[in-house]
Symmetry: C2
Subunit: 105 residues, 2 copies
């Protein structure tokens, strides 16, 4: 169990894909932004604006990263990086808990 201290948080949830992906936005002490969310089983494509570090904390899933032609199984907890202005695909097999860190250039 990890406790994040001295953060701020947007109370209202972010809801995507008809609620199958939901998250909350937090801001760490240094001002950096993260979203902590949960994905239901399903297939999703996510677009990025800023570069992201996707920390998949638990769940069974596969990722297809930009420029890749094949999905890769993740052994959670496992993270991957995604460049800005790109997209990635996920095949989520079981409920997945994640943390997305946004990397401001």
């Amino acid at each position: 169990m990890t406790k994040l201290e001295n953060i701020s948080m947007i109370k209202e949830a972010n809801v995507y894909f008809d609620g199958k992906v939901v998250s909350r936005t937090i801001y760490l002490e240094d001002g950096s932004r993260q979203t902590l969310g949960v994905m239901q089983a399903g297939e999703y494509t996510f677009d990025t604006n800023e570069a992201e570090i996707m920390e998949m904390m638990s769940g069974d899933l596969e990722v297809k990263l930009p420029g890749e032609s094949e999905f890769k199984t993740l052994n959670t907890p496992e993270s991957f990086n995604v460049p800005a202005n790109s997209s990635f695909d996920l095949r989520v097999k079981t409920v997945t808990d994640y943390c997305c860190s946004y990397i401001v250039a």
Copy 2:
């Protein structure tokens, strides 16, 4: 949009009902505990230890409170109180965003 400042948060999600109800635990500056979560459509029974204030921020749902025989439609955002050591039932029709505040006696 509501921003909660100077809080701490448990990073890992709380997952209930096979992921149909998920939440994160936060601690406000005064030390009081809340969970912010999202419910998928479904019917749920929740047991309470401490007394709770359930703030249903968005979504279409009905609640049957302890001692009541009928469900009541909530017009979100709407809150209800639940005594300690009791339980309540929810009929969630659309994805519901909520905040549960735990009231320590």
